[in-house]
């Protein structure tokens, strides 16, 4: 009797676990392993050709024009990552600190700062594209209105402002996320510790740098890692605001656009190359995995267990 019961329970557990496991295996694990395999073959359109070893990797890293494209896109991702680190996570920390004090209206401010986060990136991208229109966009119209007309410029149309315009739009979109993660971290700091600090020092700076910042380290680990992964996967916002070619003149090209263009082709060059595209995907993937791993381990080390 107990034996029969065990078999029944075994079947029951299997029935519960197999369908969800199958979804993850077929639509996540299998495609990711395949991406690695694809990179080692020559592809003609959708047809797989010969095994070519590391040729595709060699091409995207060392053969022109791919080499320059890869370096150009990669350098932009690095700029984006560090800029967002300051604008999104840095500002997020300050806003979280302000919200944490529960000043009048804190609840309203908290809802407002998170509102853009729930919007689709596509809506945000189009909205800022309209706002940054050289003639009729509210940004230039406002600058002219307050006598700063000389600052008005085609933000998305010139190489030295385009990437920064995208970074600004992205920061507006996502600043609420690190803000509320940091806020949750601050709210978990025990009151006794804060009381003890109040006895010791009057300095706000000492309190932030020596107490609050170290104690929200777990939140910092998570938002830094997520920002890193997000910055090197960046696609939708530049796709809408700057187009698949990273216009003007590749000044907003990032790895996500470059990878997509290489794999699926674009309007100007209809050529699609799954081999080179997969090689790029594998390189980006390995880079993200290794660096995200290092960031997580290094930052975890400074977290304090309470």
């Amino acid at each position: 009797m107990p034996h029969l019961r065990m078999t029944g329970r075994g079947l029951w557990i299997t029935a519960l676990i197999v369908p969800p496991l199958a979804f993850v295996a077929v639509f996540i694990v299998y495609p990711i392993f395949s991406a690695f395999a694809y990179a080692f073959f020559d592809w003609q359109g959708l047809r797989r050709g010969e095994f070519v070893g590391f040729d595709n990797f060699f091409t995207v890293l060392f053969v022109e024009p791919y080499r320059s494209w890869t370096i150009n896109a990669f350098s932009h991702n690095i700029v984006v990552f560090f800029a967002l680190m300051v604008l999104q996570n840095g500002l997020g920390f300050i806003l979280a600190y302000a919200l944490w004090r529960e000043l009048p209206g804190a609840r309203f401010h908290r809802i407002a700062v998170f509102l853009p986060v729930v919007l689709s990136t596509i809506i945000v991208a189009y909205l800022f594209k309209l706002f940054l229109h050289p003639l009729f966009g509210v940004v230039n119209v406002s600058l002219k209105g307050i006598g700063l007309g000389w600052l008005a410029q085609p933000w998305l149309g010139q190489s030295d402002t385009a990437l920064w315009s995208l970074i600004a739009a992205q920061s507006w979109h996502m600043v609420g996320f690190p803000t509320l993660v940091f806020l949750a971290g601050m709210q978990r700091i025990p009151g006794e510790i804060l009381d003890a600090v109040r006895m010791e020092t009057e300095s706000e700076w000492v309190k932030i740098s020596k107490v609050v910042w170290p104690l929200v380290a777990p939140s910092a680990t998570i938002v830094f890692t997520l920002l890193f992964v997000g910055a090197f996967n960046w696609f939708e916002l530049p796709y809408i605001m700057a187009g698949l070619d990273g216009s003007p003149f590749g000044s907003t090209d990032v790895l996500g656009l470059y990878f997509y263009r290489t794999a699926f082709g674009n309007v100007s060059s209809g050529q699609q190359d799954f081999g080179l595209g997969s090689a790029l995907a594998v390189l980006i993937f390995v880079f993200i995995a290794v660096i995200a791993g290092i960031i997580t381990v290094r930052l975890r080390a400074r977290e304090i267990q309470l």
Binding site: F114, V118, F177
Partner: protein, 287 residues
């Protein structure tokens, strides 16, 4: 310490606090204006004609003027995109919550060999950026003959949503007391009956959190439809928006009302359920 000294000290502390809180309050107000202004301008512009937008971008419009919205309703495929988004998101959510609860229940409630390995398998899917596997996914959908079919989206979203759902739900299901379950088992209830009638009603709060965490990225997704869906009648809202924005490039009134209509469902839901949204969307990052 003299009395005068104490008073002086306190006053400085009080002033310091006021000054600091004042500064923080100014930062918060400035930031909130910055966060809301683009949305307010978007909604205002939706009620203006294009010349009105160009002449007075900040002016308060006549809210009775709904010609832009009428145009969207009658001349574009907007309603179709909206219904498609509801269908794809709804079907994905049903699958995610059903399958996620099943897996979490098995892992969290029973002891069997391989349970921790299976949990690890799900968690591995948590951090992998699936965008980078788009080429094999494209080939997979082609082989399954579901390219240009909303099933491709539903399957990918379900697989993407499962890791976080299993993670959240397993943690929650493990905390449930086992007395009720044991009592029911003594009475001879089947395992399926115990799960359905006794345990499932208790896991609803975790389902809400897991649901919100998944519903927002799925509703907003643009990348997978871009690759999988070509047929205009099958497009979801963010993807349909790109078609629509391309057609009306010079009619800014219509563009802004299209953006407003697209933003409306999720913004309204967020305003009503802001607490749950914030908890749900940051739940992966807040331990």
């Amino acid at each position: 310490m003299s009395a005068a000294g104490t008073t002086y000290y306190d006053r400085r502390g009080l002033l310091g606090t006021l000054g600091r809180d004042g500064l923080l309050q100014i930062i918060l107000i400035a930031n909130t204006i910055l966060m809301l202004a683009p949305i307010v301008i978007m909604v205002f512009s939706a009620f203006k004609t294009t010349p009105q937008i160009f002449q007075s971008p900040f002016g308060i419009p006549d809210f009775g003027q709904v010609a832009n919205f009428a145009k969207i309703w009658t001349e574009t495929n907007f309603l179709r995109y909206l219904l498609n988004s509801f269908f794809v998101t709804g079907a994905s959510m049903v699958l995610i919550l059903t399958l996620g609860t099943m897996a979490a229940y098995a892992i969290g409630r029973y002891q069997f060999s391989g349970a921790s390995f299976i949990l690890m398998f799900f968690l591995a899917g948590l951090t992998l950026p699936l965008k980078l596997a788009i080429i094999p996914l494209f080939m997979l959908m082609r082989d399954l003959s579901i390219l240009n079919n909303q099933l491709s989206l539903i399957f990918v979203y379900t697989a993407m949503g499962l890791p976080t759902t299993v993670f959240i739900m397993t943690g929650f299901i493990r905390t449930l007391p086992s007395e009720l379950e044991d009592a029911a088992r003594m009475d001879g209830a089947s395992e399926a009956r115990i799960m359905w009638s006794i345990m499932l009603p208790l896991v609803r709060p975790a389902m809400v959190i897991a649901g919100i965490q998944n519903v927002v990225p799925i509703w907003n997704d643009f990348f997978f439809p871009l690759v999988f869906i070509q047929n205009d009648d099958l497009k979801t809202l963010p993807q349909g928006l790109t078609t629509f924005m391309g057609e009306y490039t010079t009619d800014w009134g219509v563009l802004f009302s299209g953006l407003t209509l697209s933003a409306a469902p999720i913004v309204i839901l967020y305003i009503v359920l802001s607490r749950q949204f914030i908890a749900g969307m940051t739940s992966g990052a807040v331990k």
